[in-house]
């Protein structure tokens, strides 16, 4: 589902600045449908791993408190142009979201 994720990785000195946008509803499970008054089931990305050339650099756990269509920014020291930054994410229903970007 590459179209669900947008990534950018740019060098700032010797640090690569990574920005990730994932399309996701991020439903907490606590919100009620305005019409039916029924709870909308929880549906949110809960685990995210970022890699640099296949090596884990960031291991994250998310709750439903991350805003809809999540944005994640992080920085990695020691990366260089041409390196690959990857994202593997999964939501509470088991749907996977993967992305990769080459450092510019």
């Amino acid at each position: 589902m590459a179209e669900a994720m947008k990534m950018r990785a740019t060098m700032e000195g010797d640090v690569v600045d990574v920005k990730v946008l994932i399309q996701h509803a991020m439903e907490t499970g606590l919100r009620k449908d305005a019409k039916t008054e029924k709870l909308i089931p929880a549906h949110f990305i809960n685990q995210v791993v970022a890699t640099l050339n296949g090596k884990t650099v960031l291991d994250a756990q998310w709750g439903g408190g991350i805003a809809k269509n999540p944005f994640l920014g992080f920085r990695i020291k020691g990366a260089k142009p041409g390196d690959k930054v990857g994202i593997n994410a999964v939501d509470n229903l088991g749907t996977k979201f993967d992305g990769e970007v080459v450092v510019a």
Partner: protein
């Protein structure tokens, strides 16, 4: 949460554990999440309980954790928050919105050159303290910042 498993993961080192898991076919490369999702921390309704369950209990106040967030958020559904830890040896960071129905937002573990910096966007039900906790050198530190919310982002 199984305390034995936690201890095992800590002692074995995350990299070694994951490598073994991949080798034994337990995990496919590309889906190597180091630990099970911390539901005890994420479902806690009390901020202190959430922080404790996330492993950040007894954190000392530190102004070396820099939090960037708006003073006033017009829309609580999307509040940009970023944090940088200037405490040497920072290995992890977590975000909490104390007045949310479930205060824990997210936790992040840094390794292999990742800087102790995270930018994200959080939901805020109402005006609240946004708290960031970090682990550095085996100790916990925290800093916080109030964000006023004019329209809440949780609930219908």
């Amino acid at each position: 949460m199984n305390p034995l498993r936690r201890a095992f993961l800590k002692n074995a080192g995350v990299v070694g554990t994951v490598a073994v898991a991949i080798a034994t076919g337990l995990l496919k490369p590309g889906a190597a999440f180091a630990a099970a999702w911390n539901s005890l921390a994420f479902t806690a309704k009390d901020p202190a309980e959430a922080i404790n369950n996330a492993g950040y209990g007894g954190a000392a106040e530190s102004s070396d954790i820099m939090i960037k967030a708006p003073d006033i958020a017009e829309n609580g559904a999307v509040v940009p928050v970023s944090a940088t830890s200037n405490i040497p040896g920072t290995t992890s960071m977590a975000f909490f919105v104390e007045k949310n129905p479930t205060p824990m937002i997210a936790s992040f573990e840094f390794s292999n050159g990742a800087e102790p910096y995270i930018a994200t966007r959080v939901k805020m039900a109402k005006t609240s303290v946004v708290r960031v906790t970090v682990k550095a050198g085996g100790k916990n530190y925290t800093n916080s910042r109030e964000v006023k919310v004019t329209i809440g982002g949780c609930g219908g």
